[in-house]
């Protein structure tokens, strides 16, 4: 359980990536949103990402030397991740400063740029864990899972934040519901891949399925959001704000549990037989 | 804070003066620190390398080089000048600095109020010596002799100077002594009957063997440097055979491994002898020239032994025995290394004699690469000046009273006229290592005074009244030789003794001074020699000649030296038996109650209630109760365990790691199971060791059952540690 800084950082940063992307979609597909509604949202993303980056420092033995971590851009995805998320943070701040009702196009471009860099940062983050030494990770799944985390948490967060103040061009909740469904199905495929893989993959799958928090997560993170949100969108009813808040909280807990398992259940290559 | 009153500066200074008085060290403006001195001028902090010698009771008795900087040990390594040690240390030797600098060492003389209470007070050396000396004098007065004082000292430190502790005891009068050895006596007697004494070829020339049987010996754990020699011999084409009831680390490396039923080694050797006899593969010439009684031996074989019988006894197929006998008798030189484990049985001595006979009848005695290798004492011809002292004039009695070390607890309790009232323990941890631990507890409880000299708190120290801190090998000089290889290693003092630790000889001198102060003439132990003088006094012309030096000080520059002339044991054919020949027929053996021939003696059988033989061999991360307790060893392994065969485990529903109670009438231990095919269905294995802070001691189950031999050479029979029968259950 020593990986809490990483768990929080990855989940929070992915929330931000999802949120900034959702916001950009909203701004692009509809008419510009009101600056006074968007500004606090972007401000909150700055705080969350900044906080996440700060938390991630506690993973280091020497947090004060963290600035060194961008010195191996040539081959280290960790260096690239740190750099890209730092740029994302800067872009978000610029974005925040640009938000005013006077000039919507410039801020849209800035939002687009921030979303793009944020997505790249997220992919870099996933590639950090794409390690051949860990057969459960050495594939496309870390990237898939990280994107899905962003795709579930982001729309929910933005929807929750904006729903009271703004009439949105489209409902963000079904987006999250669909992502939850895809994420859940993706995980079933992932498990079957692990069970057929190396002994270490197999053991990882057993660790996952044998853990209570895995099943808690399945309910909180996949079944309930997918069920509630998709049912609501089929019935064309709007999810009320308190349900949305409850769902967001459930998903956040589910993602954190899932990320904890991502680190703790994974079995490294075994040396020797014992 | 209301109740606290502010004192004026005047009152305060009055108080301060009182502190000063308490300290006796003056005041702020006139302060002389008591624990400091002016730093001695030094331009640089020098690095020095010292020679040390590992003094543990171990075949390898390694030569060590110790790097010291500014008076502190930086590292230890093997001394490459010793071609046996080859500049390498074993896992234990490499961990030495951790022992010297553990903050948990016993630092000062301490007295316990209430044995086992943990209530210790620090006392000065003078107080300690006064109390002990007074007790000795009181005992002498009350009982008219010093016989109620009993010494239990053995091999925790095998430095020659540590025999000074025996010398100290001799110097106060006749005392009671733990006599004998728990280690190897049955085998010594066996070889003494056969050859006249123990003497093995230089182990370094084992590389020249063509055929080598490692019989009941596990050098991969207990003599690692010899394992290298064995592997080198194997590389050069020597066939390595391991015979052992356990699939030991050594057996794993052999060309051929035979899993023999425990305690039936003699049957296998005799079966082989019979085959060799029938097929006329023996060395007739050698027998005619060198042996006494081989005709009788051949007669015994013909009338009593068959290969089929041996197969039945040992569990080894007849065909395999025949092959083995054939190969062994057809290749020269062929040798056998006889381990100590295989003689810790009620028929252990006889089994060794049978193996000796096998080596002798094939003419492999007295040749390079051959031999019935067991041990030797040929390099041990020192003066024992520290040890040999006469009692003071007027001492009553006619000699020391011997207490069997292998049944120490019971014999101490039974001693009468006079009873034993005081114990002095040095270089031993009997509470952890001796059989029948619960009886040992009672024996300690019955004493008036128990003095233990040690480096760390252990089960024995816990049961003592006074504990005295002793030096490690790096803190006192000495000299070490081996009972296996032929080297002599000088041990230099590399660092100052930590805290108030003293060497056994220094303790003896202190006690002698105190005794004579309280009652002049009560102790004859010299008090005015330096440690170097004590060392010098151990040497004599014979030793110098054997090792090719003129003065022991040469060792300081020369490093370790080897007795080259001893290389091949019995090459000259002059055996030290009464007949001067190798004795198949030994009247000496008969005198000690044995059959004169190496005959088969039935092994000790499992009682119905306790179907498993519990073998408790040595453990690779420690030697007896030393080393396993250090943190580096704990990193590798930190718990004892019992090895159980998979079939037995299945039968008892035991899984890997389950706690298993190993018990018999005497007691029990509870240890986790390790399920392994390294043992057989009729044996469980628990390695003997002392673990820090763990309630584990296999000796709670071990009965003080004597081995068949040992009385001739060591004064007492050995102990049949491996004839221990137990039952197991999952808990």
């Amino acid at each position: 359980m020593g990986e809490w800084p990483l768990i929080l950082f990855t989940v929070l940063s992915q929330l931000v990536v999802g949120a900034v992307g959702t916001l950009w979609l909203l701004e692009t597909l509809g008419k510009p949103l009101k600056g006074q509604a968007v500004k606090p949202l972007v401000g909150s993303l700055v705080i969350i990402l900044g906080g996440g980056l700060l938390i991630s420092l506690f993973h280091l033995g020497h947090p004060l030397l963290a600035f060194r971590a961008i010195t191996n851009l040539g081959s280290s995805w960790l260096s690239r991740e740190v750099l890209l998320f730092s740029i994302t943070l800067v872009l978000l701040v610029l974005y925040y400063m640009k938000i005013s009702d006077a000039e919507p196009n410039g801020r849209k471009a800035m939002g687009g740029l921030a979303s793009l860099v944020a997505l790249l940062a997220l992919i870099a983050s996933a590639l950090v864990y794409t390690l051949p030494a860990r057969s459960a990770w050495g594939n496309l799944y870390p990237t898939f899972f990280f994107i899905m985390t962003a795709a579930i948490l982001g729309p929910l967060y933005v929807g929750l934040f904006l729903s009271r103040q703004e009439e949105l061009p489209f409902n963000t909740a079904p987006l999250a519901g669909t992502a939850a469904l895809i994420s859940g199905i993706g995980f079933i495929l992932y498990l079957s891949l692990l069970l057929k893989g190396t002994p270490e993959s197999y053991q990882t799958a057993l660790n996952l399925m044998g853990s209570a928090s895995f099943w808690a997560r399945a309910v909180l993170n996949w079944l309930l959001p997918a069920g509630i949100l998709l049912a609501a969108s089929l019935k064309k009813t709007k999810v009320n704000q308190s349900t949305l808040a409850a769902l967001f909280l459930m998903v956040l807990i589910g993602e954190v549990l899932g990320r904890e398992l991502f680190y703790s259940a994974t079995v490294a290559l075994k040396v020797a037989g014992l | 804070m209301d109740r606290r009153t502010h004192v004026s500066r005047r009152t305060f200074l009055k108080g301060a003066a009182a502190t000063g008085a308490l300290a006796g060290v003056g005041s702020l403006l006139d302060f002389q620190p008591v624990h400091f001195r002016h730093a001695q001028a030094r331009t640089d902090i020098s690095t020095e390398v010292f020679q040390n010698a590992c003094p543990r009771n171990c075949y390898d008795t390694c030569a060590i080089l110790t790097t010291v900087e500014d008076g502190v040990i930086k590292s230890v390594t093997g001394n490459p000048k010793n071609t046996y040690t080859r500049g390498r240390l074993c896992v234990k030797g490499n961990s030495y600095p951790r022992i010297v600098y553990s903050p948990d060492r016993i630092k000062y003389p301490m007295r316990q109020k209430g044995r086992g209470s943990g209530n210790w007070e620090r006392i000065s050396w003078d107080e300690a010596m006064t109390e002990i000396a007074q007790k000795i004098l009181d005992i002498k007065k009350e009982y008219g002799s010093t016989l109620p004082i009993c010494l239990n000292k053995y091999s925790g430190n095998f430095n020659l100077l540590n025999y000074g502790i025996e010398g100290m005891m001799s110097s106060i009068g006749y005392t009671s002594r733990a006599a004998g050895t728990p280690c190897w006596p049955a085998g010594i007697d066996a070889q003494t009957f056969d050859f006249g004494t123990i003497w093995n070829n230089d182990p370094e020339e084992m590389v020249d063997s063509k055929y080598l049987i490692l019989w009941g010996v596990n050098p991969a754990w207990c003599a690692v440097h010899s394992m290298q020699i064995v592997l080198e011999a194997k590389k050069r084409g020597c066939k390595i055979v391991a015979i052992d009831p356990l699939f030991s680390q050594t057996a794993v490396k052999a060309d051929l491994y035979l899993q023999i039923k425990p305690s039936t080694d003699g049957a296998l050797a005799l079966g082989m002898c019979r085959y060799i006899l029938d097929n006329e593969l023996y060395d007739g010439d050698w027998l005619v020239r060198n042996a006494k009684g081989y005709e009788e031996f051949f007669g015994y074989l013909k009338n009593n032994i068959t290969v089929e019988w041996a197969a039945e006894k040992t569990g080894i197929p007849a065909k395999v025995i025949e092959n083995l006998a054939h190969e062994f008798a057809s290749v020269k030189p062929a040798g056998i290394w006889i381990g100590y484990g295989m003689q810790r049985h009620t028929n252990g001595g006889q089994n060794v004699r049978a193996i000796d006979a096998l080596v002798a009848m094939t003419g492999n005695v007295g040749i390079p690469g051959g031999g019935a290798r067991y041990a030797h004492l040929e390099t041990w011809g020192f003066n024992y000046h520290a040890m040999v002292h006469s009692p003071p004039a007027g001492s009553l009695g006619d000699g020391d009273r011997l207490i069997n070390m292998n049944n120490f607890a019971a014999e101490v309790l039974a001693a009468d006229e006079p009873p034993i009232k005081m114990l002095w323990i040095a270089c031993r941890n009997p509470m952890a290592q001796d059989p029948e631990t619960s009886v040992m507890q009672k024996a300690f409880e019955a004493m008036d005074l128990v003095v233990t000299v040690d480096q760390f708190m252990n089960d024995t120290v816990k049961m003592s009244d006074i504990v005295l801190p002793c030096t490690t090998l790096f803190e006192s000089p000495g000299i070490n030789v081996s009972y296996w290889h032929h080297w002599m290693n000088l041990n230099e003092q590399a660092i100052a003794p930590m805290y108030e630790a003293k060497h056994d000889v220094e303790i003896a001198m202190e006690l002698s001074k105190k005794l004579n102060e309280l009652e002049p003439g009560s102790c004859s132990f010299p008090t005015d020699l330096t440690m170097e003088e004590w060392l010098a006094n151990e040497f004599n012309a014979g030793i110098y000649q054997l090792f090719g030096i003129n003065d022991w000080r040469e060792l300081k520059s020369k490093g370790p030296v080897k007795a080259e002339s001893l290389k091949v044991a019995w090459q000259n054919g002059r055996f030290r038996t009464p007949s001067g020949k190798y004795e198949f027929w030994s009247e000496e053996a008969e005198k000690f109650g044995h059959h004169p021939l190496p005959v088969w003696v039935e092994e000790y059988k499992a009682p119905e209630k306790y179907p498993f033989r519990c073998i408790s061999p040595h453990w690779k991360l420690g030697i007896h109760s030393q080393f396993q307790q250090t943190d580096w060893m704990e990193q590798i392994n930190d718990k004892p365990f019992v090895e159980i065969h998979p079939n037995v485990a299945a039968q008892y529903g035991i899984h890997e790691g389950d706690n298993v109670k190993v018990y018999n009438d005497l007691g029990y231990v509870i240890v986790p199971a390790r399920i392994t095919t390294a043992t057989s269905k009729d044996c469980v294995v628990v390695y003997e060791a002392w673990y820090k802070d763990k309630n584990f001691n296999i000796n709670y189950t071990v009965k003080a059952l004597p081995a068949d031999m040992g009385s001739k050479a060591t004064g007492m029979p050995g102990i049949a540690f491996h004839d221990n029968f137990v039952n197991i259950e999952k808990v």
Partner: protein
């Protein structure tokens, strides 16, 4: 010296005595929880019981070291003699290398809060000496080899218990255990 240094581990000779590990610890003055070289006991099979066969491993100084690839601070460098050198001064204790090494070689020192590992006694190599483990091995089971000159045919690149060498191409070779004839009672 140029080339690729590495270890030849003769499992047939190794008796699992831990002297190599302890010599390393003693001479390099390591903290007790840190083991630059580890003697791994192997699970048994039909010819050898559990814990009677061992795999002694230190850093394998891989040709394509994962630790070096993933390290964000360039604490790892590959010296011209092939040693994968870890510089404690640069390390910030992110533990990325611990995740990435297929052989679990880098270890986190909770005292220094940095990672450390075997540097193949680089300073000794410069003086023409062997690493401490090689000199400390009682049975000569560990040899320092230079892959530029190495052509021992008995040496294996892959062996049971040793993780897939195709990831990093480790600079270690093994001579496998050759069991003798065994006459065992209860197998």
């Amino acid at each position: 010296m140029k080339g690729q240094l590495g270890f030849l581990v003769d499992i047939d000779k190794c008796i699992g005595c831990h002297s190599c590990e302890m010599a390393c610890k003693n001479q390099n003055q390591l903290d007790p929880e840190i083991r630059w070289r580890i003697v791994y006991p192997m699970k048994g099979n039909s010819s050898v019981p559990t814990e009677r066969c061992f795999l002694s491993l230190a850093c394998n100084h891989c040709e394509k070291p994962e630790c070096m690839r993933v390290c964000p601070v360039r604490a790892y460098t590959k010296l011209e003699n092939g040693i994968v050198f870890h510089d404690k001064n640069r390390c910030i204790g992110c533990r990325m290398c611990i995740m990435a090494c297929p052989y679990q070689v880098p270890q986190f020192n909770s005292n220094t809060k940095k990672v450390e590992k075997c540097n193949l006694c680089a300073e000794r190599i410069e003086q023409g000496l062997n690493p401490f483990c090689v000199d400390g091995c009682i049975t000569d089971a560990i040899t320092l080899i230079n892959f530029n000159e190495f052509n021992e045919i008995k040496a294996e690149r892959e062996i049971e218990g040793f993780p897939n060498p195709n990831i990093t191409n480790p600079s270690v070779r093994f001579i496998p255990y050759k069991p003798g004839v065994q006459i065992r009672r209860d197998v």
